[in-house]
């Protein structure tokens, strides 16, 4: 008899595992209907919101106001930001996703193509947001997300090492060399390349990524190639040969070196700032390498509404009437340090010169393309840049092959 006890225990754990399976398959939404059904009198409904760690506290704050005024419950589920897009795509069709999730605007094309997001109606409030933030979340005339932050890269300058903003790339390299630090200028390249960070330098040669329509939206036609693209590729090879750009410099190395005062300049975004305590920083426009203005990508962070939400009214109410307030947007600003999307909140945040600096650079930036075709571009793009910088690829031939390969991937998809 005694022998069967461990086996019974095993059976319990087997059942636990099954429950866990049932639970994971049904969690999230599972609790929602139960909550509304069991205590309808005291309860104003429940919505589930996916957030990442940086934004958790800020959303919690806005949710508290919402809960107090409407009697609803907001359940926050903490997720890794990198996992959200995939999980959202996979779980919404099964009815198990959240009602609302945080996300980036450049997911939009993919999310709408898969039918997992619903448009939101922000009505006349659209005018109260930074125009680029609403444009970024707009597709076919419909707004699909409530923006809360605008982010872009700029030139971060250590004023102790370089008192003045450089006018051009060559100025920056000269000033950096004159400063006598280990690196004249820091820019993360890494072995796989970093086309996002290199983009402003590419645009300064007049080469974009996709053709832009008159209204600023992107058409699925590549704009990487041609004369401007080849000029940029040639410049990459020169800088790589001169040692200014180096594939051994990764994000971590670049940030650590700048924090240690090894260079007066680094090209990066507001997310780097907290790694530089004690440095006196100024934010400047990115110096142009090819003669035209160096315009980075601007990314907009916002909240998406699930197309399968069973609590659409509550979720819309929360987004449109609570997350769009100045307090909520400022709380998100404090948490993430990116300029808010709501103009009134952005004006308050701009009292900080660093935020103001990034905002000024962003005013001139291009929104990151959100068309689904963008997914096929990154990997070819980065590796080619890295190859040209390290000298393993011949610049013109390498760049042209990249354009052909991306076109091939687009045609195959």
């Amino acid at each position: 008899m005694r022998r069967s006890i461990p086996f019974a225990a095993l059976a319990v754990s087997a059942a636990l595992v099954l429950t866990a399976c049932g639970g994971s398959a049904g969690s999230g939404e599972e609790e929602t209907p139960e909550a509304t059904e069991s205590a309808p009198a005291a309860d104003g409904g429940t919505i589930t919101v996916w957030v990442d760690e940086t934004r958790q506290a800020a959303v919690e704050e806005a949710a508290a106001v919402f809960e107090e005024e409407t009697g609803a419950t907001v359940e926050l589920v903490l997720k890794n930001f990198e996992d959200i897009r995939t999980d959202f795509l996979a779980q919404v069709p099964t009815g198990e996703g959240p009602d609302i999730t945080v996300g980036a605007h450049d997911w939009l094309g993919e999310l709408t193509a898969n039918g997992v997001v619903a448009p939101i109606e922000i009505g006349d409030m659209a005018g109260e947001f930074e125009p680029v933030s609403i444009e970024a979340f707009t597709q076919d005339g419909q707004v699909y997300g409530l923006p809360y932050a605008v982010e872009n890269i700029a030139l971060i300058r250590n004023t102790a090492l370089a008192p003045e903003a450089p006018a051009s790339w060559d100025d920056a390299v000269a000033a950096g060399t004159a400063a006598g630090t280990q690196f004249p200028l820091l820019i993360q390249v890494s072995e796989e390349g970093d086309p996002y960070t290199m983009y402003p330098l590419q645009t300064s040669f007049g080469a974009g990524v996709f053709e832009q329509n008159d209204d600023g939206t992107y058409a699925p036609e590549l704009a990487l190639g041609g004369e401007p693209g080849n000029a940029f590729a040639g410049w990459l090879a020169e800088q790589g040969a001169a040692g200014v750009l180096d594939t051994a410099v990764t994000y971590d190395i670049a940030v650590a070196a700048f924090a240690a005062g090894d260079s007066p300049f680094i090209i990066g975004g507001p997310w780097m700032i907290e790694s530089f305590p004690g440095l006196d920083l100024a934010i400047d426009p990115i110096p142009s390498a090819g003669g035209e203005p160096a315009r980075p990508f601007v990314g907009v962070a916002g909240f998406y509404l699930s197309a399968q939400s069973e609590n659409a009214i509550l979720a819309n109410d929360f987004l449109v009437n609570y997350m769009s307030t100045e307090e909520a947007q400022l709380a998100l600003y404090e948490a993430g340090n990116r300029p808010p999307a709501l103009t009134a909140a952005a004006d308050v945040a701009s009292e900080d010169p660093v935020t103001d600096g990034f905002r000024a650079v962003g005013a001139d930036a291009f929104p990151m393309p959100s068309i689904p075709e963008m997914a096929s571009v990154w990997e070819f793009w980065g590796v080619t840049e890295a190859g040209i910088i390290s000298g393993s690829l011949e610049p013109t031939a390498g760049w042209e092959k990249m354009v052909t390969d991306i076109q091939g991937a687009l045609d195959a998809a």
């Binding site: 008899m1 069967s4 086996f7 019974a8 225990a9 095993l10 059976a11 319990v12 087997a14 059942a15 636990l16 595992v17 099954l18 429950t19 399976c21 049932g22 639970g23 398959a25 049904g26 209907p33 509304t36 104003g44 409904g45 409407t70 897009r85 995939t86 069709p93 009815g95 709408t112 039918g115 997992v116 448009p119 109606e121 009505g123 006349d124 076919d140 419909q142 072995e191 796989e192 051994a248 410099v249 990764t250 190395i253 197309a307 399968q308 069973e310 609590n311 659409a312 009214i313 109410d317 449109v320 009437n321 997914a375 990154w378 990997e379 070819f380 590796v383 393993s392 091939g408 991937a409």
Partner: protein, 534 residues
């Protein structure tokens, strides 16, 4: 030892003996079993109820079946063997069979970007995406009302008058309605639905369209937050009977095609598609896409080379160390052995990440400190990158081999070696004819499983080189150190660098499974000949 076990197992066989069954006595053990099964049943019932709530009938019926089986097995005296097997079977069912069948199913569908959900949801998404707010139209303060259970909207129009209507009755002015500070507080002929009521019928409220007038061209009022209404008009209309979508602005009719999309006669399709079974299409793509054919051969060869060399190098080093530290004359063997196992204690993905930092061309510890600033491209030169992967895997893997070899060596009975000595065999001869065969009998199955593991050693490749450096001549983002599993990861788009294609990924993983399975089966068959030595 083994013979003792056998006799014990045989013992309960005369089950028809007059001994009372375990299941029938009220011993302490029986009560314990009863309590544990009660807990199991309670969990089972909870899962069944949760599944019922979710309408997940697959989970529900499997759980009911499992529960019935568990109760029968543990209370019946006829199911003795199953008492031991059932927990394992349950695990097998959940973790293996289900996953295998689901992967198999997905491999025959076009599940991926643009074909993410069911047709029903795709239709719903298309309709919602193609419903536009009438340009320049106003927003109206709105309340939800009901007329004998039928929901409707009441709005305050531009002139400040109240209008109300339902899905069948277009908006019409209502006299004597009261408005307090822009909020409607009473509408004669209708009941106001309070917030609680709205929340209970959210789906109905968001789906409700109240026509502005008898003319459908004028659009209809809808709301997303039950506080404000807007005038919308639909661009796409779904005809359920004909199963077609019609674009009201152009008049183009879209009908579903075999790929799970709505297609017009000119071949243009609507954006959102759904999952359909596509037969062997994914397998055809896996082998038929010209862009993949050439890198596929290189990657297949490297995968075999990587897996075989990894097993070989780690085994040889582990064996060598095991023999060395098995020598009685060596002092401090325990300390050495503990140190040897250290790499085994680190999580492999962390170790691979650290190594990729150590091997950085310019700032890595190995180049900068050990080699005095030699900028050796460990991870970016095709040959060196392969060597680096094998080297790091050797570092990661030899402790395991060291452990199993030490165990196997110590398990070889001393009398066998003594007998060899008496027979006049020298050290080398003893080693070759006695120790090595006995060692291989014990370790061969582990070597095969190690081969299977390294064949799919995703973590190491992904964390150390990311598959790079890239093939300079290929038109797809694959590299010299990519193995089959990282290739699947890359071309299926799960890493976010290509449009996702779960169907293709599943098809490719089935191909990999067939390769690994075949090799393992052959290898296991061959190891049987080793066992004849016993």
């Amino acid at each position: 030892m083994s013979s003792q076990l056998t006799t014990q197992r045989v013992e309960p066989e005369p089950a028809e003996s007059p001994r009372t069954s375990h299941a029938r006595t009220w011993s302490a053990g029986f009560l314990a079993k009863l309590a544990l099964l009660a807990v199991v049943d309670a969990f089972g019932v909870y899962v069944v109820l949760a599944a019922w709530n979710e309408r997940s009938f697959g989970i529900l019926w499997s759980m009911v079946a499992l529960l019935a089986a568990a109760n029968y097995v543990y209370f019946s005296k006829r199911a003795l063997a199953l008492k031991y097997i059932l927990p394992g079977l349950a695990f097998l069912l959940v973790f293996q069979i289900y996953v295998v069948f689901y992967t198999g199913y997905v491999a025959f569908t076009n599940y991926g970007d643009g074909h993410n959900s069911t047709k029903e949801q795709a239709v719903e998404a298309l309709l919602v995406q193609n419903e536009r707010r009438v340009e320049g139209s106003e927003s109206f303060p709105l309340v939800v009302v009901s007329d004998g259970g039928e929901l409707g909207f009441a709005i305050v129009d531009a002139d400040g008058d109240v209008e109300a209507g339902t899905a069948d009755r277009p908006l019409a002015g209502v006299d004597d309605a009261s408005v307090d500070d822009g909020v409607i507080t009473a509408v004669p002929g209708f009941e106001l639905v309070d917030r609680q009521g709205v929340l209970e019928r959210q789906d109905e409220v968001t789906a409700l369209r109240v026509p502005v007038s008898d003319d459908a061209e004028d659009g209809s009022i809808r709301t997303t937050d039950a506080r404000t209404g807007y005038v919308y008009e639909s661009v796409l209309v779904y005809d359920e009977a004909a199963d077609t979508m019609t674009d009201t602005t152009t008049g183009v009719v879209y009908a579903p095609n075999d790929d799970g999309q709505f297609e017009a006669e000119d071949g243009s399709t609507l954006a959102v598609g759904w999952r359909v079974v596509v037969g062997f299409d994914n397998f055809v793509t896996a082998f038929g896409d010209a862009r993949y054919a050439q890198p596929f051969v290189a990657i297949l060869l490297w995968t075999f080379a990587f897996a075989i060399l990894s097993v070989l190098t780690t085994f040889l080093l582990g064996l060598f160390l095991a023999i060395t530290f098995n020598e009685d004359r060596l002092r401090g063997r325990r300390i050495y052995r503990t140190l040897m196992i250290l790499p085994y204690a680190l999580p492999p993905f962390l170790a691979a990440l650290i190594w990729s930092g150590l091997l950085n061309r310019r700032f890595g510890f190995i180049n900068e400190v050990l080699l005095g600033g030699a900028e050796i491209p460990w991870l970016t030169d095709p040959t060196l990158a392969k060597l680096a992967i094998l080297g790091v895997n050797l570092w990661l893997g030899f402790p395991y081999m060291f452990l199993i070899c030490t165990g196997a060596l110590q398990a070889i009975p001393g009398d066998v070696l003594e007998a060899a000595q008496i027979d006049g065999a020298g050290r080398v001869r003893t080693w070759r004819s006695v120790v090595l065969p006995l060692l291989l009998v014990a370790t061969a199955p582990l070597l095969i499983s190690s081969f299977a593991f390294n064949f799919n050693n995703f973590t190491l490749v992904y964390m150390l080189t990311g598959g790079g450096p890239r093939f300079a001549d290929a038109s797809v983002p694959l590299g010299h150190t990519d193995i089959l599993i990282t290739m699947v990861y890359s071309i299926s788009g799960i890493d976010g660098n290509a449009p996702r294609n779960y169907g293709l990924a599943s098809a490719l993983s089935i191909v990999i499974f067939v390769i690994v399975g075949t090799i393992s089966a052959i290898a296991f068959r061959r190891t049987r000949s080793l066992e004849d030595i016993n």
